[in-house]
Amino acid sequence: MSIADLFNYMSYVFGLFLSLTLIVLLLVWLERKVLARIQMRMGPMRVGFHGALQPIADAIKLISKEDILPAWTDKLVYWFAPIVVFVPAFLLWVTIPFGKNMVIRSLDLGLFFIVAISVLSVLGLIMAGWGSANKYAVLGGLRAAGQLISYEIPLIMAILTIAILHQSLNLVEIVDKQSQIPNIFIQPLGLVLFFIAGLAELGRTPFDIHHAESEVVGGPFVEYSGAHWSVFFLAEYINTFTISILTVLLFLGGWHWPNIPFSGNLQTVLSVFVVLIKTILVVIVIFWIRATYPRLRIDQLMSFGWKMLIPMAFINVTITACIVYYDELPLWILPILSIILLVLGAVIIQRKFSKNITSTIEVISSKSLLKEKSEVNIN
C-alpha cells in the first residue's frame, strides 16, 4: 500500500461520509413528511420548499446547543459511546454497493463482514447506558443488548439462506445472480424474517423498546444532548438506510429489475438511481409501519423472537440447504414451501394473540365491578 492508495481511500471515506449525511437529512425530512401525511397533517412546511431545509435547520440547532454533562457520569465511557455506535454504522458501507461498479471494496466475505461489524454497535448502547449513571439509561442499555442479541440470530439466518442459495457471500455476486429472478420470488419467508429482524435490530417501531419514552424515558440516550445526541441520531438513520439497502440488494434484485438496457457510464448512473428508488420505497414501508403499529411489550418481544422467528429461520435454512444440496429437486418447491411456512406462522400468531385477548377479557369480566355494571346495563 502506497501513499497514493491511502489518499485514494481517504477521499472515498470523505465522499461516503458526505453522501451518507445527505441521505440522513433526506430521510429525516421524509420520515416527518410520511408520518404527517399518514396522520392527515402537513408536516414541516415553513423552511424551504415543503420544509425541505427543515433537517438542516434542525442540525444547526442541535450542533449549537449546549452539551450538558451530568455530574455522576463516567466521563470516558460517556464520551466514547457515540463513537462506538457511529463507527460500525459507517464502517458497514465499505462493502455495500450503491449500484453497478459502485462499491469501495467488493469483499469476498462481504455479508459476513456486515454481520460482524453490525454486532459492535450493541456495545456502544451498553456503554451509553452505563456511562450515563442513570437508572433509565442502564435499563435501556440492557434492554437494547438483550433485544439486539436475540434478533441477530434470525437476521443472520435469513442472510445465510441467501448465501446458501447463491453459493456466495459477496454482495455484488449475489445481486448479479438475481438478474433472472429476484430472491423475493424464491425466498418470501426469508424476506419477511430479514425485514422483521432488521426492524428489531434498528430499534424502530414496533420494536423501539430500548428507547421507549413511556417506559425508560429515552433509553441509553437520556442524558445526551446537543451534538453528541445527534451522533446517535445520525447512526440510527444510517442503520435504517443500511437495512433498507440490504433488503433491496439481497431480496429485491438490487440494480436488476428493471434491467437497464444501456451500457457504460450511463448504466452505472441509472443503476444507482434504481437502487436508490427501491431503497427509498423500503424506507417508506418502515415509516409506514411506525405510523401504524403500537409498541410491543418486552416479554412479547422476547417470546416473538425466540419462539417464532428463530424456529422459522432455522426451518428455512434447513429447507434451503436440502433443496440446494439435492440437485434433482426443482427450485420452485422453495417458494411454495416458503409461502406455506409464512401462512402457518401467521396463523399461529393470530391464534396466540386472539387467545390472549379473550383471556384478558375473561379476567376483566371476572371482576365483580364489571359484572355489576354489565348487569345494570342489561337491566
Binding site: 500500500m1 502506497s2 501513499i3 491511502l6 470516558l76 465511557v77 469483499l107 469476498d108 466475505l109 459476513f112 463482514f113 454481520v115 460482524a116 461489524i117 454486532v119 459492535l120 450493541v122 456495545l123 451498553i126 456503554m127 452505563w130 442502564v138 442499555g141 440492557l142 443488548a145 438483550g146 442479541i149 457471500l169
Partner: protein
C-alpha cells in the same frame, strides 16, 4: 511501510487494552479494555491476510463475549467484585502466567513459520478444508458448545424449582 506503521498502532492498542484489563480497579473498565485488546487482535489478523479469522474474532469476541460479560457485570452488584480483587493469590497467578509466557515464547521461537509466502486463502477452499478434512474436530467442538448450553439450562432450572 504503511502496513508497518499500522501494525505498530494496532499493537499499541492491543497492549493498552491488555494493560487496562489487568490494572484497572473498575471491573467494567476492564471489560471495555478487553474489547479493545480483542479488536486489536482482529486487526493483527487482517494484517496477516487472515480475513476470515479477523471477522470471526470481531463477531464472537467483540460482539458476543464482551457484550455477555458486560451484561452479567451490570446485573450484579459492583461491590462483589471489589472484594474479589483483594484476594492474595497473586504469587500463584504470577507464577502460572510466567510459565505460560515462557512456553509461548519458546514455542514461537522454535516454530518454523513461513512468513514469506503469505497469501489470501480463498473462502471456498477454507470451508472445504474445514468441513471435509477437519470435519470431526469441528463437530466435537459444536457438541461441547451444545453440552454447555444444555448444562446452563439444567442449572437454571434446578434453581427455579427450589424457590
Amino acid at each position: 511501510m504503511i502496513s508497518l506503521i499500522i501494525f505498530y498502532i494496532i499493537s499499541a492498542l492491543v497492549l493498552i487494552g491488555s494493560a487496562g484489563v489487568i490494572f484497572s480497579r473498575n471491573i467494567v473498565y476492564a471489560a471495555f479494555s478487553l474489547f479493545l485488546a480483542l479488536l486489536g487482535t482482529a486487526g493483527v489478523f487482517v494484517l496477516l491476510l487472515a480475513e476470515f479469522l479477523a471477522i470471526v474474532q470481531i463477531l464472537i469476541y467483540g460482539g458476543a463475549v464482551v457484550t455477555v460479560i458486560l451484561f452479567a457485570l451490570m446485573l450484579t452488584k459492583i461491590d462483589d467484585f471489589r472484594s474479589l480483587s483483594n484476594i492474595n493469590y497473586w504469587p500463584v497467578s504470577a507464577f502460572l502466567s510466567l510459565i505460560v509466557l515462557i512456553t509461548l515464547i519458546l514455542g514461537v521461537s522454535q516454530a518454523k513459520i513461513n512468513t514469506q509466502n503469505l497469501g489470501l486463502v480463498k473462502f471456498n477452499d477454507f470451508s472445504n478444508d474445514l468441513f471435509e478434512y477437519w470435519g470431526i474436530p469441528f463437530e466435537i467442538a459444536s457438541l461441547v458448545l451444545l453440552v454447555a448450553l444444555i448444562g446452563a439450562i439444567v442449572i437454571l432450572k434446578d434453581k427455579g424449582n427450589d424457590s
